[in-house]
């Protein structure tokens, strides 16, 4: 019979219980009556006949019960009774219940939250039809494997020659200044090739995407808004479609709004049609196109990759100079979007798994202790006729109830964590906005909670099952054998907890050391009192000299203000994402010609920059006001440049060309003399040593990407306001792209490091706390078990100190085992962390030692009270109690 049918029958039987009971009674009465009648027919006296009928029946009550049981109602009834009993038992011990629930809730909540993040970010398909066919395509340096954006001409060739992709499109970072009713606003913008939205297959929420003819010259003045831009800048109003916006001084029409979740590459930007300029279709060295492709149905990734390889090879043959060392490769969209986050998430998921294991071990030992305390109760109930299985089942039912509670708490916690992640996570983290505590997370929490409670509930159930009745009853619940077995299991559980905690502790320790080392690195620039305000003046000052005049005016006005020590301008700010072009091909005069010119970082600067950022001069001179448009072209280099290009040589007086024969967005190439060497600056991250770089005077390279960097004694907010006032005092329509303090930039640059560190440290602290509590509980239990022994020892003359050292020794023995386990585990596992470390190896002996020492210290701390209690045992009092 099918299980479902059986269950149905049971349920029906339960509902109909009273009637079934009546019917059974009726049936049995009839039997007795018929039997009596038969006997009476054989000549037995009526009263005697009934007696004999009952005897022949053999125990009316017994068989009635047996028949009731056999009718299949029992298990369900028992289950309901178990639930009721369990609830009552849990309510009677609110302390125990709430501790278990909170431990379980935290363990489940943490795991479920991380699982939710892993599921939402890594596992769930991206919200585009057939998302697995969408690829990002890259040019790739054959030597270093570094992925680079596409040069326009290479993209056009790729589009023409590729057969594996049914559609290829490119986007280019851009920005539009909007003269909004509330003042100038900078809108980050992506210029997109034809077919961009169609490639993703996402329909606009409102309005339409771009028409093909809007990519023609002179026609591209339409925009599609990202969801977040629409919400924040346009208050989510539906009549935005068709509205005219003045962008970069020209009228643009809002064509549509993309839905929430369409974040290619972000949802806080707007998209405008790419209108290709003439020079672009020939450019193979300026690489700024992000390329997306949708594979043809049936085209494999490997196949496409091979095709890209051969197209790349052909381009290399056709354009050996510009495409030297360049290949092509692809990365599936989800992989590209998630990027480095994948490793971090999986690492954290592993770490939270360890925490969960500690939680489980801790719960198991709590359940064991509780079962030990209830052995007497169970022994009595067993003596009164409760089946062993029944007792075990009751314990499991209690576990089940706790599991349900833990799942609910854990799910709530996971929901809150994911909500928090949505609110506070750095905006650039991919797919975070999609995170929800959904049914999958709930199922995960419930399953995990159930698993945890069942696995921990099994141990005490086994103990209860094996309870030797007489022994336990005779010894007043302190059965020597059972006690020892429980203590043994408890010890094993404590060792496991200590070991797992140590692994987490060492992992967190390695991240802490890395963090300290990163922050302690020589950055090469000052942060205290330094702020920066970024503008793009291209559209407001179309001629170089006007841009130079504007920048000089701003800096002069700023320098006159009290409370400002130093003010300068740079075309890039350390630790900030690109604001203007910052790499150019380099040719050193007199050096043997390279087959492909190396790319070098450059920063356009004014003289005040070095004072504002505190970049020291090492040799020669800094830039100054003599370096005008008509003066000889000069350049400063950093120490890394000097080391790399002129090892052991005089640098000053050497000449170099930026841009060279290849087109670039810089001014026409000029030969520049190196007039000074300045200190290195960690531009790309505190963990990344400075690369060779050069500084060009603004007057000779009049870029419109301007970050004003100012150092002053005013508070940062005040300083920022001053700068903006000065800028707007000169040109009121220029929007501010970004304003920030250098301290914030440093904070942001180590944000992910700090986040990982905080989470892992939290897990380690929680695990260690649980392990310590477990140890404390065990040592208290052991001390209690040995009260009599300790009392006798002291009566026989053992000093209290010796007794407490007995307890301490035992704890240290456990800690030693835990440390051994933890060190071995850490040695095997910290390799996973290697990519997150800085300045330490994953086997850093100092961190391992510190972790072990911490564990030992916590052990002593957790044992201190039980040991002291052991030393204060009063034998007379103990014996009287027994």
């Amino acid at each position: 019979m099918s299980a479902a049918l059986k269950l149905f029958r049971r349920l029906r039987a339960m509902v109909r219980r009273p009637r079934l009971d009546r019917e059974l009674d009726e049936e049995l009465q009839l039997h007795i009556e018929l039997e009596s009648r038969k006997l009476a027919g054989q000549g037995v006296a009526p009263s005697e006949a009934r007696r004999r009928a009952l005897v022949a029946f053999g125990g009316l009550e017994r068989y009635r019960e047996a028949a009731r049981d056999a009718s299949g109602v029992r298990p369900l009834e028992d289950f309901v009774r178990d639930l009721r009993l369990g609830l009552r038992a849990l309510r009677k011990r609110p302390g125990y219940t709430s501790i278990v629930l909170s431990i379980l809730g935290v363990g489940i909540g943490g795991s479920a939250a991380l699982f939710g993040a892993v599921h939402g970010i890594l596992l769930r398909p991206m919200p585009y039809p057939d998302a697995h066919r969408i690829m990002t395509v890259w040019q790739q340096d054959r030597k270093t494997g570094e992925q680079q954006e596409f040069a326009p001409a290479n993209f056009l060739d790729l589009r023409e020659r590729s057969a594996s992709f049914e559609r290829l499109t490119a986007i280019e970072p851009f920005g539009l200044d909007w003269e909004s009713p509330e003042g100038p606003v900078y809108l980050p913008t992506w210029l997109v090739y034809e077919g961009f939205f169609e490639l993703f297959g996402t329909q606009p929420l409102l309005g339409r995407a771009f028409r093909p003819d809007e990519h023609a010259p002179g026609r591209g003045q339409v925009v599609v808004l990202g969801f977040r831009v629409w919400k924040t800048r346009f208050a989510g109003s539906e009549d935005v479609v068709g509205r005219m916006l003045k962008l970069d001084g020209k009228p643009y029409v809002v064509a549509g709004v993309m839905p929430e979740g369409f974040a290619m590459p972000g949802d806080d930007a707007v998209w405008a049609p790419k209108v290709q300029e003439g020079w672009e279709s020939r450019s193979r060295t300026s690489r700024f196109y992000s390329v997306f492709g949708r594979l043809r149905p049936g085209a494999g990734i490997d196949e496409a990759r091979a095709e890209l390889g051969s197209i790349g090879a052909r381009l290399l043959r056709e354009h050996p100079l510009s495409n030297a060392d360049l290949g092509m490769t692809l990365v599936p969209l989800p992989e590209h979007v998630v990027g480095g986050l994948r490793r971090a998430l999986l690492m954290l998921l592993g770490a939270v798994g360890f925490l969960l294991a500690v939680v489980t071990a801790n719960l198991a030992s709590m359940q064991l202790a509780r079962a030990a305390g209830r052995r007497r109760e169970f022994a009595v109930r067993a003596a009164l006729g409760a089946g062993a299985g029944r007792l075990a089942r009751q314990l499991l039912t209690e576990s089940l109830l706790l599991a349900a509670g833990g799942a609910v708490l854990g799910f709530a916690l996971a929901g809150a964590s994911l909500h928090g992640a949505r609110l506070w996570a750095p905006a650039h983290l991919p797919r975070v906005a999609e995170l929800r505590a959904d049914g999958v997370v709930l199922a995960f929490a419930a399953g995990l909670s159930l698993l945890a409670m069942l696995s921990t509930g099994v141990l005490p159930a086994l103990v209860a099952n094996r309870a030797h009745l007489q022994g336990i009853l005779a010894l007043g619940g302190r059965g020597a054998t059972g006690g020892r077995r429980i203590a043994g299991m408890q010890s094993a559980l404590v060792v496991v907890q200590l070991g797992l905690s140590l692994v987490l502790l060492i992992g967190a320790g390695l991240l802490v050391r890395s963090f300290v080392l990163v922050l302690g690195e020589q950055r090469g620039f000052l942060t205290d009192g330094v702020v920066s305000v970024t503008v793009q003046t291209w559209g407001y000052y179309t001629k170089g000299p006007d841009r130079v005049r504007f920048v000089r005016e701003v800096i002069e006005r700023l320098s006159r203000q009290p409370g400002i020590q130093s003010a300068g301008m740079a075309s890039s700010v350390p630790l900030m994402e690109t604001i203007g072009a910052e790499r150019a091909p380099l040719t050193i005069e007199g050096a043997p010609p390279a087959d492909s010119p190396p790319m070098v970082q450059f920063t356009v600067a004014t003289p005040g920059l070095f004072g504002a950022l505190g970049i020291p001069l090492r040799r020669g001179r800094l830039l100054d006001d003599r370096d005008g448009a008509d003066s000889p072209s000069v350049v400063l280099v950093n120490e890394a440049f000097a080391r790399h290009h002129f090892p052991g040589e005089e640098v000053l007086g050497k000449r170099l060309v930026l841009g060279g024969s290849l087109e670039s967005r810089l001014q026409e190439p000029a030969s520049r003399e190196i007039v000074g060497v300045v200190g290195d600056v960690r531009r790309h991250g505190l963990h990344e040593a400075a690369r060779p770089g050069v500084y060009l005077p603004h007057a000779q390279s009049p870029t419109g990407a301007n970050a004003f960097i100012v150092r002053g004694s005013l508070d940062p907010g005040h300083l920022l306001r001053r700068i903006k006032q000065v800028i707007w005092g000169i040109h009121p329509a220029i929007p501010i792209h970004r304003e920030t303090t250098m301290a914030d930039l440093v904070g942001v640059s180590v944000r992910e490091r700090r986040f990982l560190l905080a989470l892992l440290s939290g897990f380690a602290a929680a695990a260690l706390g649980l392990a310590a509590a477990g140890l404390f509980g065990l040592m208290s239990y052991v001390t209690g078990e040995r009260t009599r022994e300790f009392g006798i020892r002291m009566t026989l003359g053992a000093p209290p100190r010796q007794v407490s050292s007995l307890v301490l020794k035992r704890a240290i023995g456990l800690a030693a085992a835990g440390i051994g386990l933890g060190l071995a585990g850490a040695a095997g596992l910290t390799r996973i962390l290697a990519g997150f470390l800085y300045g330490v190896t994953s086997m850093d002996p100092a961190t391992f030692a510190a972790g072990a020492a911490t564990l030992l210290a916590v052990t002593v701390l957790a044992t201190w009270w039980p040991a002291r209690r052991a030393a204060r045992i009063d034998l007379v009092e103990t014996l009287r109690q027994e």
Binding site: E23, E27, L30, A56, S71, G72
Partner: protein, 110 residues
Amino acid sequence: MAPTRTDRLQGHLDLLILRALAGGPMHGWAVAQRLDMISRSVLQVGQGSIYPALRRLENESWITAEWGISEAGRRARFYRLTPAGRRQLERERALWNELAEAIQRVLEMA
């Protein structure tokens, strides 16, 4: 777990009840009389033991029960073999015969 004496008895009892019902529907007391007739020993533990067995067989869907009027003119629960029960009986009977033959052979060889 090795079958205990009660288990074995129960197995036989189930088989015997199925066999008794193979002759047609009857109520509990009649089943008991029938078994008594076949073998005095089976019900030595008590006639009442057929009731748990009947409930068990009912649960397995090997028999069904319906109310009818007994020879005493009182309402009685009549049990009837289901097709599944009939198959079960055949299976049990075949098993039993095999066992009996095996034992018989062993006894003759000795």
